[in-house]
Symmetry: C2
Subunit: 345 residues, 2 copies
Amino acid sequence: MSAQQRTEIASMGEFGLIEHLTRNFETRNASTVLSVGDDAAVIDHFGKQTVITTDLLLEGVHFDLMYTPLKHLGYKAVTVNLSDIYAMNAIPTQITLSIGISNRFSVEALNEFYEGVYLACEKYDVDLVGGDTSASQKGFVISVTAIGEVAPDRFVKRSTAKNGDLICVSGDLGGAYLGLTLMEREKKIFLENPAIQPDLENETYIVGRLLKPEPRKDIVNFLAEQGIVPTSMMDVSDGLSSEILHICKQSELGCRIYEEKLPIAEDSRKAAFKFGLDATVCALNGGEDYELLFTMKQEDYDKITLNEEISVIGYMTAQEEGSKLLTKGGNIFDITAQGWNAFQQ
Amino acid sequence: MSAQQRTEIASMGEFGLIEHLTRNFETRNASTVLSVGDDAAVIDHFGKQTVITTDLLLEGVHFDLMYTPLKHLGYKAVTVNLSDIYAMNAIPTQITLSIGISNRFSVEALNEFYEGVYLACEKYDVDLVGGDTSASQKGFVISVTAIGEVAPDRFVKRSTAKNGDLICVSGDLGGAYLGLTLMEREKKIFLENPAIQPDLENETYIVGRLLKPEPRKDIVNFLAEQGIVPTSMMDVSDGLSSEILHICKQSELGCRIYEEKLPIAEDSRKAAFKFGLDATVCALNGGEDYELLFTMKQEDYDKITLNEEISVIGYMTAQEEGSKLLTKGGNIFDITAQGWNAFQQ
């Protein structure tokens, strides 16, 4: 919060605040019939199916304002929801945004947050159509619901992978977790000695992966262009291990993943080495990469080979064969979900 | 929380918890194509328009667990959102529900909350199609998004009232505010002396108005049966004064409201007298009644006279004439929004 001017939220009132925050926002989807300012928004989806997802982001649980710029937070609050819509093979069209804020926030701080929200809406062509603004006793609370559309029955579930299908993942994995590790380390150093400035200079890649995730609209478009309908798909928010086990369980199958095929960025490898972490473990268990994990028929393989943003990392097997990782050294391990589980400490 | 058994949430894990909480829930709308368990739900709305609304409920701001049974809270979290859908003249079909919970909640406590959620879903024929379950550092956080459908262009906005239209309200007003006043008073007495048991015996009406609001599906159905399309409509969540001013502002009109026409239940009048409050002020400024406020053409008047659940309380005027209350004593006052404004203390 680098706000130089400080306008107290109390000086605007709730409705004044909503008007202020939504004043420059024009809708861009023809399906947006009625937007902010009534009991509910109206969306027209003739001839399409509507997809809906929602996420709750809580300060201290999902984000730390000490190292999360509000503009990035607004951007990320939107994009993580869009990621869920793309993961259904659908196109996002609208979002609603509810926030709970304590009076330690100024209007300028909220403006920064909304700048990020609007930036994401513009980049991904979605309309902000409603929400709720509320006081919070403690902590910043963000709830986003995203709506998307898909041609009838073209949505892709988690439960429909087939034995023998190739397992693919977009982009690279583990970067966001390494960014989080770096930020938590720098925060600790800062709290111990506020005179030491954070050293993030060579770490822009992993920091960006954490603070400004981009949902893979490009992959959904590419698959459509190539005529590929994935047999199953989901986004990687809790970590690859956790996600592939969801697909296995819901599709009643097993899988083989090859360690050597896991896509890991060079910057992530360097950071992992620096922090004394295993890059493979970061790629398997680190969350928040918001890449797409999908399965497809083997005969579609030729269509994706030229896309450097898609890696084939293994294949689906019968359920009895289990869910296994084949390491570079030739060992075979069971894949276990080490993903985020905030209830277990 | 009268739970005798206590199961720690940590013993189930996040996904186990979601499966547990949604295990008995069957979808009942044909438009629900895909429900809980994937990245997003899929809703089919061919030939209808989709309406969407969202509300955030925060412990300590919107509810007090000291006097709010969790089952009632779950019920209310759903019904207040459905009220917004009905206020658009639409029929709710699906909801998503996200919660943030601290580990002071047991699985039994959450079950109670979900019992209320499911009860409301059953009563109003909506499907719970998704959501997000998260840890919270402090306080219970609830975010509900409701989706509804309406025949093309039959939705009713706030901005389309016309000069001369009748102003109508369903049910009665002020009861929820009086229920809140009672509960806050009993809480204070209890905190001062825990040996004194709360005295709610003769106050079931106002307590019910606060803890278990029912959205006015019946009114929307009645209007449809009578062939009445309201010229504007919204629900009364912040208080009648605040809501009628929204309609006036958005429709660029004024209004006349008659104090003697305000519907106030006998139990509310008695409670107001007991607490030394003015029942009219409670009806004008008390929030959370979740009744429908709507305007309609004068020629529709005959169609509603037999419905005892609808009161005509005034009429719309030109904007220059202002927004006025005519009291029983013959005085004229400006209507001012005294509704909930949590940012001003």
